[in-house]
């Protein structure tokens, strides 16, 4: 079992106890690593119904079997998994950079953080030495300042740090965990869970060798991947990067604007990937082992935000920009930089500010609530100020720091109608009113609104299906892409590299086997993907979720796209949603209520988790068992 470190580290912050246990090969083979392994460890080490901020909710950190190896993009990933303070269900978020490489080299496949420290601390993992360090002097610092301070005090520039900012400390529910300066485990509020444990950072130094099972074969495979990564499959990421989406989605009428009021943005040309590359992008850098490089570093050249230097991607650009009606790129970049600084998910923060602007425009909140801010769409100064207030829980920001779902419940009135979220997680930058395969993918995602748990916008955007129609067959499309994406997140390789695995599971299984020496067929790997998706579902069922939670934001179901053009009039009706869910559940082998059956769980080797669904299934299911 090479590739894997073969060890799981446990740290109990309540008692200060630290211990390790071996990683069993069966577990590795079944759940691979990354989110798969992390989710299984979370399930096994938590009780149902605990509050996400309770010391009883562990925070799991996992690398994949390829981490630390030269597999392009595979060498560097890590995943955080915990019960999400936004969804009260499965939360997971991945990040890249150099942190995952160091964690594997330190000798750990997973780190499970239990309990809660009395005082602010950080974890210092130096190969086999694990210490809980005082972090009083780091409390209140930004993520970047924390990273630099820890490197300075431990006196090694190559130490890798994952940390939370002030937002995580203050339990802002959209807090993220940053590493390597500009990389974020952004979604699902993992940073808030970390903050609830009084854990400011995890610092790593790894010096152990990473050995692989079949060196010669691996180099052959890597060579092939390198060639593919220089070709068309990675072109987008090497050139314009994800901001290429701006003009693509604009053309399709699929770029949500003003908190999903419209689906096109008037200033799209001035925030496009093309415009960014021409005026702002100073350098494109890569993560450890990557042969693509995608990380566009933008610098604001002039004006009040001059010198702001930040990584750019479509999603945060969209959230802070068009979703708030903001077309001023200088301000958008400043907003993204501030999100990293305070440590909040730059997608969700844009969702929240857009939501607040929508309420303001509709008179549901007023200047009195906003502390004098004129929170109209397009007011970029107010947007910047709100990012700060939410991140620090100042004034009205304290309400919004709960995320749009909980904030809307608190604000009352019609506010929930303007809260654009699924399962409590703010939407991402695809207008699913006119992308109905994607709509299904979003609805069933076990971590809430998300385009990265599936690639279901793919067939819609590429025109492979009628994107305005809900019909049978979409369930299969969503299931297939979900299974693959889950494996991508478990190995962990980068989603941006997905197009380079031209033979899909065959390529991924070959890489897995060459590194680990564990035989794995493409079919077995696909099966593992299916298993991990069922695992996410089972966790959520254990926490009380079901069909009712596979839902759409109110606006998506009630406000047809108003913009002139191809997408005009499109929305997702209840009938659409029911049809899509029925189709998907059937393909998944789940009941009408979205519960995996005993047969399905047995078929995919999850007999041990049948207990979760047992009393939720119809009597028929129980008899069959």
């Amino acid at each position: 079992m090479l590739g894997y470190a073969g060890r799981i580290l446990h740290v109990d912050l309540s008692s200060g106890k630290i211990w390790t246990e071996p990683l069993k090969e069966e577990l590795a083979k079944k759940y691979i690593g990354g989110i798969g392994l992390g989710m299984r460890l979370l399930l096994d080490h938590s009780k149902p119904g605990v509050d996400p901020f309770s010391p009883e909710n562990p925070l799991v950190l996992a690398t994949g079997p390829l981490s630390g190896s030269m597999v392009p993009t595979g060498g560097n990933g890590h995943a955080f998994v915990s019960k999400s303070p936004q969804t009260f269900a499965m939360g997971e978020s991945k990040s890249h950079g150099h942190f995952g490489t160091a964690m594997k080299r330190a000798g750990y496949d997973a780190i499970i953080i239990h309990g809660k420290s009395e005082k602010p601390v950080y974890l210092w993992i130096d190969d086999d030495s694990v210490q809980i360090m005082d972090a009083k002097h780091l409390w209140g610092k930004s993520t970047l300042e924390t990273e630099e301070a820890i490197r300075n005090e431990l006196k090694d520039f190559y130490i890798r740090v994952a940390s939370i900012g002030p937002a995580g400390e203050k339990l802002v529910r959209i807090a993220c965990i940053m590493n390597d300066r500009s990389r974020a485990a952004g979604r699902c509020g993992m940073g808030a869970v970390m903050g609830s444990k009084n854990l400011k950072a995890i610092a790593l130094r790894g010096s152990k060798d990473i050995k692989v099972a079949n060196q010669e074969r691996l180099l052959e495979l890597i060579k092939i991947q390198h060639e593919r990564m220089k070709g068309p499959a990675a072109r987008k990421y090497r050139t314009l990067g994800t901001p290429e989406n701006v003009l693509v989605l604009q053309k399709l009428g699929a770029m949500p604007t003003n908190n999903f009021t419209r689906a096109t943005f008037d200033g799209a040309d001035r925030i496009s990937g093309e415009y960014l590359n021409e005026r702002f992008v100073a350098k494109i850098i890569g993560c450890s082992s990557c042969a693509m490089r995608c990380e566009h570093i933008a610098v604001v050249p002039e004006g009040p935000y001059k010198g702001t230097t930040t990584r750019i991607e479509y999603e945060p650009l969209w959230a802070i920009g068009p979703n708030c009606g903001v077309g001023n790129l200088d301000a958008i970049l400043k907003g993204m930089d501030l999100s990293n600084y305070y440590g909040v998910d730059a997608i969700s923060i844009g969702g929240i500010v857009g939501f607040a602007m929508d309420l303001y425009e509709h008179g549901i909140i007023t200047k009195e609530d906003t502390g004098g801010l004129e929170l109209n769409f397009g007011n970029h100064e107010a947007m910047i100020e709100m990012i700060k207030r939410i991140s620090l829980r100042e004034g009205f920001g304290n309400v919004l720091a709960e995320g749009v779902k909980l904030a809307a419940e608190k604000i009352g009135n019609d506010a929930p109608k303007y809260a654009v979220h699924i399962k409590g997680v703010e939407m991402t930058g695809y207008d699913i009113r006119g992308l109905k395969t994607a709509a299904l993918g979003y609805a069933v995602s076990f971590r809430g609104a998300d385009h990265n748990r599936h690639g279901a916008y793919g067939p819609d955007v590429a025109g492979k299906v009628n994107r305005f129609k809900a019909e049978k067959g979409r369930g299969k499309l969503v299931k297939e892409t979900e299974d693959l994406y889950t494996i991508i997140d478990s190995l962990i390789v980068c989603k941006f590299s997905r197009g380079t695995y031209v033979e899909g599971y065959k390529d991924l299984a070959a890489l897995f086997s060459a590194v680990t020496g564990i035989e794995m067929t493409p079919e077995e790997l696909q099966r593992a993907g299916e298993r991990i998706n069922n695992l996410g579902r089972l966790f959520n069922i254990r926490e009380g979720l079901g069909r009712k939670d596979d839902s759409m934001p109110w606006k998506v179901m009630n406000v047809p796209i108003p913009d002139e053009g191809v997408a005009k009039g499109s929305f997702v009706s209840q009938e659409d949603l029911d049809l899509l869910l029925d189709d998907y559940y059937e393909v998944r082998g789940w009941t009408k209520e979205g519960i995996p059956t005993v047969e399905k769980l047995t078929e995919i080797g999850m007999e041990d988790l049948v207990y979760i669904v047992k009393d939720k299934l119809e009597p028929k299911g129980q008899e069959e068992e």
């Binding site: 010096s207 152990k208 060798d209 692989v212 060196q215 220089k230 850098i285 993560c287 490089r293 230097t309």
Partner: protein, 172 residues
């Protein structure tokens, strides 16, 4: 130690990184440690990447100085420089890991092997450096100092005469 005659050292080729192309991906470290140590390890790589800031990335290997301060610094005469290639050769029987050479090197191009406690320096893979071959950005060159100077001259001239070149329709 006397410098090697100019005629010889001018022919030496070294691994040099173009920071404009370097993305900080550390693929050079991966392939170096695999080639030399059969494992992936930054500490055992003879070339090291430095990202000082997202905008500033570079990989550094032995610069083939002549005279080489590392050779001069070694109190045990464990290091010698090949007249033919400029590579610093290490006599493991003499090297005791004291690391005077590491301090003497202005570029941080010498590494102490964490287990053997002997120093390790880029040996150019017998004239076929694997890092140069595998760099996904083609950001590493295996070339002489004179050719590096030439490249810089070409680049600066292109910049100086950009308008004239464009006006004449000369593609460069």
């Amino acid at each position: 130690m006397a410098a090697v005659p100019m005629a010889e050292s001018a022919k030496w080729k070294m691994v040099s990184c173009d920071p404009d192309k370097c993305t900080g991906c550390t693929v050079c470290e991966y392939i170096c440690s695999l080639t030399k140590e059969n494992s992936f390890s930054s500490q055992k790589s003879r070339i090291r990447t430095m990202r000082l800031h997202p905008l500033i990335n570079i990989s550094i290997a032995c610069r083939l100085c002549s005279p080489a301060p590392c050779v001069t610094a070694c109190p045990r005469d464990a290091l010698t420089q090949s007249e033919q290639t400029g590579v610093i050769m290490i006599d493991d029987d003499k090297c005791d890991g004291c690391s005077w050479c590491i301090e003497a090197c202005d570029y941080g191009a010498i590494t102490l092997h964490p287990e053997l406690k002997k120093v390790r320096i880029c040996d150019l893979c017998e004239g076929d450096p694997k890092c140069v071959k595998w760099c996904p950005e083609e950001g590493l060159d295996f070339t002489t100092k004179d050719i590096l100077a030439q490249k810089a001259r070409i680049a600066v001239t292109k910049k100086l005469f950009k308008e004239s070149l464009e006006a004449a329709g000369i593609k460069t």
